[in-house]
């Protein structure tokens, strides 16, 4: 049977599949039960699995994450939703002080198989705080895994892997492309490895490293530069932490050039780390300085300005050309 899903539907199907197989999984957060989530990612879950396993909570992110810590210690696998990444900060203390540390603090006595899901990123003409990409904040913290899918197929496989992972995973969903396209994906459950990047397009001239909603913009930029005879190799990082360094290092060794594209601000963003790794591991192969195309070091603008903030395919294409011509 055809199973053509978009990204939100892939989230939903991953949860359906896994909850059926594993009774210890519980799903909760703000408006996730009766309503099925503001983006409908958890729709029908409560109907299917009951109010014990899928429920609405009072409006408090620190408690959503903090109680998940207790649940995970007590034998459940909580998959909690934070309504928007911009509202994950009330839970910051719980995430950094406890979610990330419990295994190490107790020398493995207490572990936290749990997932924190949150839609992230801009481009949906939303109110303030609904557009940010602060994955670097979480990727900086030892003990967390940070995963960002970019396709329905990857979303399902990676979310299932995140749920099965013995360690806590921050699972960030690119809401700009939640419904952008559908993909034929297996109906049954399958897993994609966390910590593995994917070569989206092979090429010889330059390596472009990106993730989340930006993958599609990079693909558009790639079409533009191909017309000028430049063939980029596009790498979708998929896991921000722990990062698959090998895949992009090998690629940069082949192409000698690298561009990193992300929506988040430039300074101390994930791109900065990638540049540092390239310098440490592939310096002698470089033909040009590794270069970043990113959001600005400004607050994410309200909708009237957001088209300037998110790197456009044109901006990305221009940088690719500049780095190739360097």
């Amino acid at each position: 049977m055809a199973n053509k899903l978009n990204i939100v539907e892939a989230v939903n199907q991953a949860l359906m599949n896994e909850m059926e197989k594993d009774e210890t999984i519980v799903v909760y957060g703000e408006d996730v039960g009766v309503e099925g989530g503001v983006f409908r990612a958890t729709v029908n879950l409560q109907k299917k699995f009951g109010k014990d396993r899928v429920f609405d909570t009072p409006l408090a992110e620190s408690a959503i994450v903090g109680t998940a810590v207790g649940m995970a210690i007590n034998g459940l696998k909580p998959v909690v939703e934070l309504q928007f990444m911009g509202f994950s900060y009330p839970a910051f203390n719980q995430i950094i002080s406890h979610v990330a540390r419990m295994r190490n603090r107790s020398r493995g006595r207490y572990t936290l198989p749990m997932v924190i899901r949150a839609p992230y990123g801009g481009g949906i003409r939303a109110l303030e705080h609904h557009s940010e990409s602060t994955e670097a904040l979480y990727a900086h913290i030892p003990g967390l895994k940070v995963v960002i899918p970019s396709t329905p197929y990857d979303t399902k496989g990676l979310l299932i892997a995140a749920i099965r992972d013995p360690d806590p995973v921050i699972f960030l969903e690119p809401k700009r492309i939640y419904r952008a396209f559908r993909q034929e994906i297996p109906e049954e459950t399958y897993e994609l490895p966390i910590g593995k990047a994917k070569v989206v397009e092979e090429g010889e001239d330059i390596t472009v490293i990106t993730w989340g909603a930006m993958v599609r913009d990079v693909q558009k930029a790639s079409e533009m530069v191909k017309e000028k005879g430049i063939y980029p190799e596009i790498i979708d990082l998929r896991t921000i932490s722990p990062m698959d360094r090998e895949t992009f290092i090998e690629s940069v060794k082949k192409t000698g050039r690298a561009v990193i594209v992300h929506e988040a601000p430039k300074t101390l963003g994930v791109g900065a780390e990638i540049v540092a790794i390239i310098n440490e591991k592939a310096f002698l192969y470089l033909e040009a300085p590794p270069t970043r195309v990113t959001g600005f070091d400004t607050t994410f603008p309200l909708p009237r300005g957001e088209k300037h903030y998110i790197p456009s395919p044109e901006r990305i294409a221009k940088t690719i050309e500049d780095v190739v011509k360097f």
């Binding site: 207790g70 009330p90 910590g195």
Partner: protein
């Protein structure tokens, strides 16, 4: 009846023993055997001995910063003794008496305060979470454990502790609110020791009592004389039983006093008068319980002297056992962040090891 009698608004403390160790609520006296009574007293002495030894080790430069519990033994020992083996203890950092009752080995306690994570590796079957330093954050974990019990249909109860200062944190509010909404089987115990480092209780909140906060969350609350071990036991026992039967959470304010410093790095003379401390020394929970036990003819001076000597010996030998053998293994620093060590951590570990070996 305890809870009905002691409306949390107002300063009426739930109390079974008066300051002289006389029984003032005969009907509420727990039915302990003599052995149990002595075991409780023994645990209070054990706790006091560990505190005193740690303070002296710290002064000798043999122990790191330490947070003593002196004056709060009845609060901790009394409440924890109401727990069953399978009940969970979710502590902050000042619950030594409760840890001892729950079976945390002394070695773990020393290792923790001496700066080694293995101290927080509780033995199998000891349902105690590690010390939680960010104030009040642990309450959320307690609520989560309780919610999980409800989901799994298990009858375990969670007992968790927080200081008077901790009641000002957002996590205090969120944890109590969630616990009440989801009827989580959690007993929240505020150790109101009158100070949060230097800040007196009166400046922490404009509420008349801390126990009255229970009303806003829709759960029972009670203000208990925290230096009365029987009152602490009985109130906690009732709360635990209610929780076990599906009645949801309870808030207990244990009214007590920190006789010592906040930690060994703190100088309490900067913020409180000696007179006040002296007045509270007369209300020392160990003294009160001792008077009761002596009146009953259960405790002899000889037993007490021998016990103190034995405890001192045990504490000294356990500390000496770990003192020179507690350095952290380099591998351990890296090994416990994920179930499988990711390549970048492996690389950092290997680099550091080869640096130490003079490799580069």
């Amino acid at each position: 009846m305890r809870f009905e009698d002691c409306n949390p608004i107002g300063d009426k403390h739930y109390r079974i023993l008066d300051f002289e160790g006389n029984v003032i609520r005969e009907e509420d006296i727990p039915s302990f055997s003599d052995e149990e009574l002595l075991y409780l007293y023994w645990t209070m002495l054990f706790s006091r001995t560990i505190d005193e030894k740690n303070i002296s080790y710290q002064r000798q430069g043999r122990m790191l910063t330490y947070a003593p519990n002196i004056g709060q033994e009845a609060t901790q020992v009394g409440s924890a003794y109401a727990m069953e083996k399978n009940d969970w203890l979710v502590p902050s950092y000042r619950e030594l008496g409760a840890w001892l009752i729950k079976g945390v080995p002394l070695k773990n306690i020393f290792l923790y305060w001496y700066g080694n994570e293995w101290g927080s590796h509780m033995p199998e079957g000891v349902r105690v979470l590690p010390i939680s330093v960010p104030i009040a954050s642990q309450l959320q974990h307690a609520t989560g454990i309780g919610m999980a019990n409800n989901i799994k249909g298990e009858k375990n109860v969670v007992v968790t502790y927080v200081g008077d200062g901790g009641t000002s944190q957002g996590d205090f509010h969120e944890a109590l609110n969630f616990a009440a909404v989801f009827k989580a089987p959690v007993v929240f115990i505020i150790q109101n020791n009158q100070y949060a480092i230097s800040l007196p209780r009166k400046v922490q909140t404009a509420s008349e009592t801390l126990a009255q906060k229970a009303i806003a969350y829709g759960m029972p609350g009670i203000l208990v004389d925290g230096n009365d071990i029987f009152a602490m036991y009985s109130a906690t026992k009732e709360a635990i039983e209610r929780a076990r039967e599906g009645g949801g959470p309870t808030l207990i304010e244990a009214y007590t006093y920190r006789l010592g410093a906040h930690t060994t790095s703190d100088d309490p003379t900067k913020y409180r008068e000696d007179e006040e401390v002296e007045k509270w020394k007369e209300k020392d929970p160990i003294l009160r319980f001792k008077k009761y036990l002596k009146n009953k003819g259960i405790l002899t001076e000889e037993w007490e002297e021998n016990t103190k000597k034995e405890l001192e010996k045990e504490v000294t030998s356990t500390f000496e056992e770990i003192e020179n053998k507690s350095d952290t293994l380099i591998e351990d620093i890296f090994k416990y962040h994920y179930e499988t060590m990711p390549p970048h951590l492996e690389e950092q570990l290997e680099d550091y090891k080869s640096f130490l070996e003079g490799g580069r």
